[in-house]
Every structure is written in structure tokens, then in C-alpha cells.
Subunit: 358 residues, 2 copies
């Protein structure tokens, strides 16, 4: 085991968007100095950090110089190029480690890992050609969903295969990238579980959240989700299986489909997650603090909420009536300091608290 | 009325210690960019700010240049030199305003204001010489407390007049500064109330906290304090009278003595206050967020707590067993990023939450 980092140590974050910003704020609260590496200068995280660096991911020297100033590194997004990760690892420990990234950067490897960990997924098939797509659709049926194996998020790199979808067009629409086809899950609702794993294997699991998406983007999370005790127990088992299987350090999230009470794993995010933003105001220790604790080698905080919470994302022009939003006394407001409210861009979120029900 | 500041605006803070740091973190959460002016570089607040400036308070040009980059200014401590304040005011609005500073920088003016506002104080007398001290002690008795009118905090600039105290020695011990003598208050306990006042006069008052000091430094605050409904109502009246009387914008704190159920005002702090740190974890809107809302011209958030809280300061060497402190799952930990744990120095604090009692 590594010694825990003393307060005042430097934690470096690869990536400088809103997740990096909220990680930086949580790390500062614990007395750490936060350094940010991002491709753009003065992004959301850099403006709350002790120091920031702007360079392309391809600049291995810059990544290495940044890493050498840090006691430990973490990241706000999982699609860090392999060469940048190697450059970072050459100068400082990166937590979570390579396994968490490699197993979640590729949907095919991820699905196979989930099954090996004893968890359920939808049926899926590897797709490398139109012919492969045709045979996969023949097996999994319509509707089904074609997804690139790598670099997809917020609904990007996906095509729904409906009754009338031309498979050649669908294949072209994802740029003929290596892909998987996923069977349609007749889910009643979308849930997610956010958990943290410490370096000694200790785990802290937050209650399930129930999530609503539109246009592939999360809109609302409600936590704790109203589920049976059996479902909550099963979700905790899933979190333990995945966290342990990845030998993960830090926070991760598991997106789940609730199909007639059975929990089907949709995907894993090896990082803090939008469906865990409710913990900022409803728990004594938020997902961001948990992550910083874990990467610093500290024991985890309590994941018990003191309040129930409805988290609403502010997307693009949602932020325009900001004067009304800030006047809502029931809203715990989080804005990310982004300059332009482009469509689909996450500008902030609101947490609304209420007393916990038994 | 001034228009509310849009998210992304720059709020400048005069002073870069732990109060500035916690204000900066709260302002960032609301989407503001925070600039810090401090006499030392890379202090606690500068390391979480978008930009920071280091120069002596006497450098009016530096203060003015700093202020010109900000949309509004505030401060973390009330003893800002008059010339620096004038330089700042020449370039940007400073909130709270001059009246709040002038009325609280001088204990004699403060005490007179408190009485004019309809609130009680202990008996007091102006002292400008040993002879004046002798006649004041003759009137107010022993024990009593001699305090410099200006620049006292955390027990500094004070001398207790006991039965055997030589008055000439006491007068010398406060460097023969203009002073007041205060009668001893036979208080049962020390309370405080933290409140915020918006630019339109709206007020948000947090519940009373009960405080324990030692060596003149706050150790523990417990909130909400267990008081009668009448006491709570009287405290809210006091907060309204003082906030309105100062025409204050932002957070302020009123330290109170509970003398047989009567609330005696000890002193006013025209800023966020150590006895309000419990609001960081026990309220949806902390005193730091309230202050940033007020100085931005925003409506205030709710001051209602969702939990009860015991706040414990970490002073000097209290921080040495940090590995044990961070392992306490019941502790919400706040560390200020200070490098040296000097005696009496506030290094951080811990909030411990529990369910609210009725």
C-alpha cells in the first residue's frame, strides 16, 4: 500500500471541463493544490485551480512535464489517448489505473468484462462490416442499436436500427467504425449507481438514482430511487463486482436498465458521473470528494444521503433565464463557468433537496 | 437598484486567507470568476481563484488596477486600510459599503450604533489615558475588560482588569491605544447569529449557534443552538435591526451573550464568520454562497438547515494527526491549504452532522 497523501500535496487532473472543475473544488476543500491539464487555456477547471497547463494531448513532453509536478494524477474523462496516458504514467501514479480505462474505452471489451464479473448485459454482437451488421441484426432483431466500440458519449456514434432502417446507411452513419450491435432492452426505467473504491479495496456505494434522458443527454436524476430492498442489494453487489473486477481506485458509475426488476448493466463510466451530481448537496461526502479521497489514498467518506434530491441538468439555452433560476430559493445551483451556451452543452445543474423518506 | 451580475462576471475579494478561499469556492460554484487581492502571493484563496494579485495594501495603484478588472468587490476582513478602500471604490463597487466597515472597525462607534439600533450591550466607557481607565474602572467595577478601539481580533489587543490588576500595566499592555472598557457580562453562554442582507433589503437569517472559545479563539460552534422560541425571535430582530441599520449588503455576524435569557450584543463582524462555517454542510445555501449572492445583487438562498451540526476548529497543531482526522467518516473536513501549523493559526475545521431535532 502507498502512504496517504498529506494535505497540501498536488493532485493533477487530466481534462478541464465541468467534472474537472467540481473535482478541483472538492480537492481544494480537503486542502490539496489542484493542477489542471487541458487542451484549451482557462477552461472551467483551470479557473479554480492552483495551476493550469494548456497543450494538445499529442504533446507528450507537455503531459510529462505537467505530471512531474503532481503527486498523483487522475482524469475527468475516459478517452485519454494512449500516448498521453503513457507519458503521464511515466512521471506520476495515475488513478484509477490502466485497466479501468482499457476495459471501458471499448464497448465490446466492456460488455465481455461485465458478464465475466457476473452481471447481466443485453445481448450484443461484434460488428466490423455491413455483412456483419446484417447477420447481427438477423440474430438480435429490430429495434436494436449500433454503437461504435470507442469514443461514443451523450448519444454520439450511435444509430438505432428500426424496422425500416437501411443497414448500409446505418453503417455509413457511424463512419464504418468497429462497432457492436446491442439488442433493445424493454426497460421500465433507467437507473444508475455511483460508487467509490479506495486503494485498500474499501467501497462506498451511494443509493441508486433514477435517470431521464432526452436526445441522448441526461436531463433529470432522482435519488434515492424508489426501488425494492432487493434491487438496492443487487445494485450494491454489481458495484462491488465491477469495482473489484477493475481493481479500480476512485469513483465509477454503472448505468443500469431496470427490466422487470432485473438489473441489466448498460455501461460503466470509470470516473465521476453526471448521475452522481445530486451527491453534492444531498450527502455529507459528494462523489467528487470521494474521488479525491480515493486517489489521495485516503479512507472514503460516508455515502449516506441526509436528504433526497432531484438533479436537473441545465443544457444549452436552459441557462438563458438565469435571473429566474437564481431566484428559486429551493434550488442549489451549480454553474460551470462556460462562456457559450451551445445546443446540447452542459452549462450547469440544479439540485433540489427534500427530506428523506423511510 | 443595480442589475444582478450575470454568471461569468468577475467578483474580486480583498484578502486571501481562509475566508477568501471559502468565498472563492462558493462563488465558483455559482459560475463566477473570482480574483483575489492579497499581500502575499499564492495564499489559501489565490490557489482556488481564476486570477490573483499580490501587493501591499499601501500600493493604491495596485489595488486600483485589481479593482478595475472586477465587476464588484468584497472583502474577507474588516480592517482594510482606508486608503486601499478608497482606491478600490474608485474603480468598482465595494459591497458591503463604507458604513458597515466604519461602524465595525471601531469598538466605541460600534457599541453606540448597537444601542441606537435598539439592542443591548454591556456597560462601557471610552478610555484614552490611565486616568480615564481609573475612572472607568471605578464606574464599571472589576472584573472588566480593556479593549483597543481598533484592530483587535481573536483576543488580541485586550487586557482583563482583575481584582489585582495594575491599571498602568494594563494600559501599557495595549500600547496606550484609544480603547474602551467593557463591564463584565455574567453570561451563561455565548451565542451568535449569522445573517445575509440582499441589495433590496431582503434578509436571510440562519439559526443561532452556541459557541465555545478558549484563549480568545473559537473552538466549537453547535447549531442550531438549543434556545427558546422567544430567544430565536429576539435574535432575528437583532439581526434585522443591525443589518438594516448598517444598510449592509452581504453576510454579517452578531456575537451575543445570553445573560439570563437576555441577548446582549458583544460585537458585529461585517463579513462571513467562523461561527457560520457549520452552514457549509448543514444548509442548502452556506454563508459563503449567501454572501456571493448578495454582493452579486442576486436574491438570497434559503437559510434553513437540513441537519444539525457541530463545527470544531482545527487550530495549529490540531492538524498534526491528519491521518486520523481524514479517517473519521462522520467528519465533513475543510482544510485551508496553509503551509505552516503555527500556534493559534486556523488550519481548517470539521463539521459533524446529525438529524435536526424538532
Amino acid at each position: 500500500m502507498t502512504e496517504p497523501l498529506a494535505p497540501g500535496s498536488v493532485i493533477g487532473i487530466l481534462g478541464g471541463g465541468q467534472l474537472g472543475r467540481m473535482l478541483a473544488l472538492a480537492g481544494a476543500r480537503l486542502g490539496f493544490d489542484i493542477h489542471i491539464f487541458d487542451t484549451a487555456a482557462k477552461g472551467p477547471a483551470a479557473r479554480v485551480a492552483a495551476r493550469s497547463w494548456a497543450a494538445p494531448w499529442e504533446d507528450d513532453g507537455a503531459v510529462q512535464t505537467f505530471a512531474a509536478r503532481c503527486d498523483v494524477l487522475t482524469f475527468e474523462f475516459e478517452n485519454i489517448p494512449a500516448s498521453a496516458l503513457a507519458a503521464a504514467e511515466s512521471a506520476a501514479p495515475v488513478r484509477p489505473g490502466r485497466k479501468s480505462l482499457e476495459f471501458t474505452q471499448d464497448r465490446l471489451i466492456e460488455k465481455r468484462f461485465i458478464r465475466e464479473a457476473g452481471c447481466s448485459t443485453v445481448d450484443f454482437a461484434e460488428v466490423n462490416s455491413v455483412a456483419g451488421l446484417e447477420s447481427a441484426v438477423a440474430r438480435l432483431g429490430r429495434p436494436s442499436i449500433l454503437k461504435t466500440r470507442r469514443f461514443g458519449y451523450d448519444g454520439k456514434g450511435q444509430a438505432v436500427i428500426r424496422e425500416d432502417t437501411d443497414l448500409a446507411v446505418a453503417w455509413a452513419s457511424i463512419d464504418e467504425q468497429p462497432a457492436i450491435l446491442e439488442a433493445f432492452a424493454p426497460f421500465r426505467r433507467e437507473l444508475s449507481i455511483v460508487a467509490a473504491r479506495a486503494m485498500d479495496g474499501q467501497m462506498a456505494v451511494y443509493p441508486l438514482a433514477e435517470n431521464t434522458h432526452s436526445d441522448g443527454i441526461l436531463r433529470v436524476s432522482t435519488a434515492p430511487a424508489r426501488v425494492s430492498p432487493e434491487t438496492e442489494v443487487r445494485a450494491v453487489e454489481i458495484a462491488h463486482a465491477i469495482g473489484t473486477g477493475l481493481d479500480h481506485t476512485g469513483v465509477f458509475a454503472v448505468e443500469l436498465f431496470d427490466v422487470e426488476g432485473e438489473l441489466i448493466v448498460n455501461e460503466i463510466a470509470p470516473r465521476v458521473h453526471n448521475t452522481g451530481h445530486w451527491t453534492l448537496d444531498a450527502c455529507a461526502c459528494s462523489q467528487f470528494e470521494q474521488h479525491m479521497r480515493a486517489v489521495a489514498g485516503w479512507p472514503l467518506g460516508s455515502p449516506q444521503p441526509h436528504s433526497a434530491c432531484v438533479m436537473t441538468n441545465l443544457i444549452g439555452e436552459d441557462i438563458s433565464p438565469w435571473a429566474d433560476i437564481v431566484a428559486d430559493e429551493t434550488a442549489c445551483l451549480h454553474l460551470y463557468g462556460k462562456r457559450d451556451a451551445r445546443p446540447g452543452r452542459k452549462m450547469g445543474h440544479i439540485n433540489r433537496l427534500s427530506p428523506l423518506l423511510d
